[in-house]
């Protein structure tokens, strides 16, 4: 049964690509954790090689995703609400641009066009990716906020139409603004798991590279401090 589930998953769209992506980031994490540890250099090298081959394999697999993103953009222009329509269409269009940059970088890495300015294209790719993430987060924020507003209004109506005086007193106790706010927020998030997952995923994707960079510069400072470089005591 476990094998069946694995086969089902990898056969579905993008399943295999997600698995490779998870493996790639695991390798990155592992190589960060055991880097600079004594006699682990070979393992770190192997992890880095594995990460590189996963990265190039994924780039190859992603060829043609530009069309996917453009079709998704066309679909999202049909959405009824203005804010999701604008946000998601912008997100999909920038994702299409990201895939174009990705294809160009793949052409260079494969050797078909060696005279491509890789840093410039990588820069553009990162900018497009972040912009599309921010648009996705904006839409998540909009979804949560209008649901929250509805829930708050419903609570207010319930409060106003309650007949029992004692209930009203009790309700006033519950009326503490922040408490009600978090309760309603929790309820909304509980009732909409896809929204929660999307939000968490986007937040992680936005913040993880920053966290990684901060952590590695902290680690570098730590090692430099230990070896005396920072204090210049040599």
């Amino acid at each position: 049964a476990a094998m069946e589930r694995f086969v089902d998953f990898t056969d579905r769209s993008q399943g295999r690509e997600r698995l490779l992506r998870a493996t790639q980031y695991t390798c990155m994490l592992l190589s960060y954790v055991i880097e600079r540890k004594a006699d682990k250099e070979e393992l770190v090298l192997k992890l880095k090689q594995l990460e590189a081959s996963m990265s190039s394999g994924r780039k190859m697999f992603r060829l043609g995703n530009t069309v996917h993103a453009l079709v998704a953009a066309r679909r999202t222009t049909q959405l009824p609400d203005v804010v999701p329509r604008v946000c998601l269409t912008a997100s999909n269009l920038t994702r299409a641009l990201y895939f174009v940059c990705d294809t160009v970088l793949w052409l260079k890495s494969v050797g078909l066009q060696p005279d491509i300015d890789a840093p410039k294209w990588r820069n553009w790719a990162t900018k497009c990716y972040y912009f599309s993430l921010l648009m996705n987060l904006a839409r998540d924020w909009y979804e949560v906020s209008w649901r929250l507003e509805h829930a708050v209004q419903k609570e207010k109506i319930k409060e106003n139409s309650s007949w029992d005086k004692r209930n009203q007193e009790l309700n006033c106790l519950k009326c503490d603004g922040l408490h009600v706010f978090f309760l309603l927020l929790f309820q909304i998030l509980k009732n909409h798991p896809p929204l929660v997952l999307d939000m968490v995923k986007n937040l992680l994707e936005v913040w993880l590279p920053f966290v990684y960079r901060i952590l590695s510069s902290c680690k570098k400072l730590h090692y430099e401090f230990l070896s005396g470089d920072l204090l210049d005591t040599k």
């Binding site: 094998m3 069946e4 694995f6 086969v7 990898t10 056969d11 769209s13 993008q14 399943g15 295999r16 690509e17 698995l19 490779l20 192997k46 090689q49 594995l50 081959s53 996963m54 190039s56 394999g57 190859m60 697999f61 043609g64 069309v67 996917h68 453009l70 079709v71 494969v110 050797g111 078909l112």
Partner: protein
């Protein structure tokens, strides 16, 4: 563009496209070399082919599980010959993919001690055996269909039936044999024309057969021919994905 999105959403479809590109590069490289193109262009095409091959190996990681599942399903078929052939074919494919994964580990630098040549030969042996079993299954299906067709003709009393009755008279050898072969051939073509999935499967397996035959040294052909066969079988496979009714079942 919608058909493209639906098509490439299946990872198998993309893998087939990359395979077509890989063998296309092999064909292009061989053709360019024969026509005296610059060494740099040929080197670039070869490099692209190597990248495509390695990338495909990466994408095939875990394909053994897929093949084993298919073998498990094939055990429950009703027809004994089909059950035997399909199970054996899937098991061989699982072994081929396992060897392929080992090759990938070697090429990607994870296990540098892997003997590339030995494992490559091993994987092609399993692949060849799987193809032979597939072709035997095709032959069995063709035989069954031909017998059914011939039986039907005999019942209708067509010209072929009359000729078969004539055969009962003791006649001289070669002319008789020639006529009989001609009849069999016409019957075969009629059966294949009426069963596009079977025809496609036969062609695909036949084209694929030349690849391991060349790599194992059993039947050396030119790199251009191998590339052409690979490209043809990939295109046929893509056709069966685009039109699922063309896929031979089970």
């Amino acid at each position: 563009m919608e058909p493209w999105v639906r098509f490439s959403a299946q990872s198998q479809a993309r893998e087939r496209l990359l395979r077509a590109a890989q063998y296309g590069c092999a064909l292009a490289g061989a053709a360019l070399q024969r026509n005296g193109a610059s060494a740099e262009v040929v080197a670039r095409v070869r490099q692209l082919e190597a990248h495509l091959s390695l990338g495909r190996k990466l994408l095939r990681l875990g394909g053994s599980a897929d093949a084993l599942e298919a073998a498990k399903r094939a055990i429950h078929l009703s027809d004994a010959v089909l059950r035997f052939c399909l199970t054996l074919s899937h098991l061989n494919r699982a072994m081929y993919l396992a060897c392929d994964n080992v090759l990938w580990a070697g090429k990607a630098g994870l296990a540098p001690a892997v003997d590339q040549e030995k494992w490559s030969q091993r994987s092609f042996r399993y692949y060849l055996f799987a193809l032979i079993v597939n072709l035997s299954r095709d032959a069995y299906e063709i035989r069954a269909l031909m017998e059914r067709e011939a039986g039907g003709q005999r019942a209708k009393g067509t010209e072929a039936g009359r000729q078969q009755q004539q055969r009962r008279r003791p006649e001289a050898g070669l002319q008789q044999l020639g006529l009989r072969l001609q009849l069999e051939l016409r019957l075969l073509l009629r059966v294949l024309r009426g069963n596009p999935p079977l025809l496609l499967d036969v062609l695909k397996n036949a084209c694929d057969l030349f690849i391991p035959l060349d790599k194992l040294g059993l039947y050396r052909s030119s790199p251009a021919f191998v590339g052409l066969c690979g490209l043809a079988s990939s295109v046929l496979s893509i056709l069966t994905i685009l039109h699922p009714w063309l896929k031979l079942k089970p």
